[in-house]
Amino acid sequence: MTEINDTNITRRDFLKTAWSVIGGITALEAGALAIAYMQPRLAEGEFGGVLTIGAVEDFPPGSVTHITDGRFYLTRFEDGGFVAIYQRCTHLGCSVPWEQTENMFICPCHNSQFTSDGDVLNPPAPRPLDLFAVSIEEGIVKVDTGNLIVRDQFDPAHVAYAAQENE
């Protein structure tokens, strides 16, 4: 047997280390595989995919429409712009109803209040309601419910306009 010293690793040490490294990598791979396997499963045409909502004219300016299948509110501003507001409260996830008489969203769970574009009027909600991207193709409103737009305040870039109205 040779002496073990710090400049020379023995065959046994080398094999031990090699085995631990291989074992570690395998464990990591298995973990990554499990996590990838558990990724959310989303489908086109249902909540989680791109939804076709309807013609632009169906939504008068200054209106808030609940799209139940998409779990969002389609708000059309007076200037004709659209936003799709996810109905899930940014505080603890309750569904926020639109109160037409009060002209705001009021969460039944802990009383957060939001404007028609989703901005916070009253906490505990820590940020405005989240958005889904709206696109308007040939006068038809489409909403991508697969991607949440999380924001800290109202941003005009999130408002979608029909092409002809913009000119």
Binding site: I35, M38, Q39, P40, R41, L42, G48, T68, R71, Y86, Q87, R88, H91, L92, G93, C94, S95, V96, P97, C107, P108, C109, H110, N111, P123, P124, P126, L148, V150
Partner: protein, 472 residues
């Protein structure tokens, strides 16, 4: 002499040979035979052949660990039955529960026993933790078993929480929605983690499937494995810690009086059986008399007002009403759980193991800490609710500081002042300060839980319990 009879006994007939494979017939009548029986049996082997007679004292353990184990067994037996009449997919999940209640023989009874045993298990494992804490039984060499215990408590809570969703009624849906939303506040990985757990952005069919898998396989298997380890460790750590009276503490144990050890059969096994049969009877009676709640089918568009988390998370939900979520749902629980799990590593005095509340003085200090907390916690809740408006007073500040770290630091300062005052008055030693701190914080958690359950009504505002209108 009790020689073991094997099934190969050529003198025995067919039926006798068949019967003999089960083990020796009849109960042994002498102590040697009794000890053999424990050692030869797989199930009884969780016990040693003999135990210290003092550890059998009921008012030491209150049978709480054993009752937890019994409840786990009852939960598994009823759970397996429920599984056979349940589809983890909306809306069938809800319809299956309705069917269970009206069409399945004893379906309602099985469901009720499962429901109430699950809730009782949370209470009983917490009481077991308290008895282990107050007798100092977590101290070396039992620190590993304490940590396993903390992990099992978390698993018990996890089992309860995942099971809560399965009936897929309004109560289940919104309690789980509110409960899991807390995950999103975990810094950096929050929304990724929540997405993984829920199988999407919100509670849905995927969530039900995930929770079902956790509830019927991952969590129970982990609990059974840890329970086996827990019991094995009790033996490895030399049996239970031995109870001492305060008088015995004053006059250290003489080595000359050797502890009396008695055979496990019948002394321990007998009381275990009586205890188990009693509680099975209690749970059957409760199951026959009290129906587990079931509301209307889950409607993701309509949140009930108020939407409350399950009762054992009400303390946490109450904290959420007072602090920024990162502080209330992440920082405080992580610190508290860390302090709890690591308790045996900073509370290391060994003298008082086995003495309830450490000493006579300890009883008074526990009482003082309890009373102080019973007074301070509700007062703080009221003051914070009606008089403190941190976010309005400090408008430019990030809310996790103004309504988070700042008030938390003030509370911790108050806690420290209190400890310092008690130290001045009573000259408390380190183990007494830990006793006071644990008692104070635990009572605070209980008070917050009670406020959350009984004093929060519509819009989570404070009400008197009799003024609260049911959730709508």
């Amino acid at each position: 002499m009790s020689r073991k009879i094997t099934s190969h006994d050529p003198a025995a007939g067919f039926f006798r040979r068949l019967r003999n494979t089960l083990g020796p017939k009849g109960m042994p009548t002498d102590d040697r035979g009794r000890m053999r029986m424990v050692l030869d049996s797989m199930i009884l082997h969780i016990h040693p052949a003999k135990v210290d007679v003092r550890t059998l004292r009921f008012s030491y353990t209150w049978g709480l660990g054993g009752l937890s184990a019994l409840l786990v067994v009852m939960l598994m037996s009823t759970g397996v039955l429920l599984e056979m009449n349940y589809t983890p997919s909306p809306p069938q999940a809800y319809l299956d529960i309705l069917n269970l209640r009206t069409n399945v023989w004893f379906g309602e009874l099985i469901r009720n026993i499962h429901h109430w045993s699950a809730n009782l298990l949370v209470v009983v494992s917490i009481l077991h933790l308290l008895r282990v804490f107050f007798t100092g039984a977590y101290r070396p060499p039992r620190e590993t078993n304490w940590i396993i215990g903390v992990v099992m408590l978390l698993l018990v809570l996890g089992a309860n929480f995942t099971g809560y969703l399965l009936p897929w009624d309004q109560l289940a849906f919104w309690a789980i929605t509110v409960g899991t939303s807390i995950v999103e506040y975990v810094p950096v990985v929050g929304s990724w983690l929540s997405n993984l757990l829920l199988g999407g952005p919100e509670v849905s069919a995927n969530t039900l499937l995930n929770f079902y898998a956790l509830h019927i396989s991952i969590i129970p298997v982990s609990i059974v494995m840890l329970m086996s380890y827990h019991f094995w460790r009790v033996r490895k750590d030399g049996g239970l810690s031995v109870p001492k009276t305060t008088a015995e503490l004053a006059a250290p144990e003489e080595e000359t009086t050797r502890p009396e050890r008695v055979t496990t059969i019948p002394h321990l096994v007998r009381v275990e059986l009586i205890w188990a049969v009693t509680w099975i009877a209690v749970m059957l009676t409760v199951g026959m008399l009290v129906a587990a709640p079931l509301e209307g089918i889950a409607n993701p568009d309509i949140s009930p007002n108020p939407a409350k988390a399950p009762w054992y998370f009400m303390g946490l939900q109450e904290l959420l009403l007072h602090f920024h979520p990162v502080i209330a749902a992440v920082l405080i629980p992580v610190l508290a759980l860390g302090a709890l799990a690591l308790l045996p590593f900073y509370d290391i005095s060994l003298g008082s193991v086995g003495v309830y509340f450490r000493s006579w003085r300890g009883r008074y200090l526990t009482l003082i800490a309890t009373s102080l907390s019973l007074f301070v916690t509700p007062v703080w809740v009221l003051v914070d609710e009606f008089a403190l408006h941190w976010t309005d007073w400090l408008p430019g500040w990030p809310t996790w500081i103004s309504n988070g770290l700042l008030p938390l630091s003030l509370l911790l300062l108050g806690f420290y002042t209190l400890q310092a005052a008690l130290r001045m008055i009573f000259k408390t030693n380190p183990e007494e300060r830990i006793l006071i701190g644990f008692t104070y914080l635990f009572v605070a958690l209980i008070v917050l839980t009670i406020i959350g359950i009984f004093f929060r009504g519509e819009g989570m505002q404070l009400f008197w319990p009799w003024e609260i209108v049911p959730a709508h």
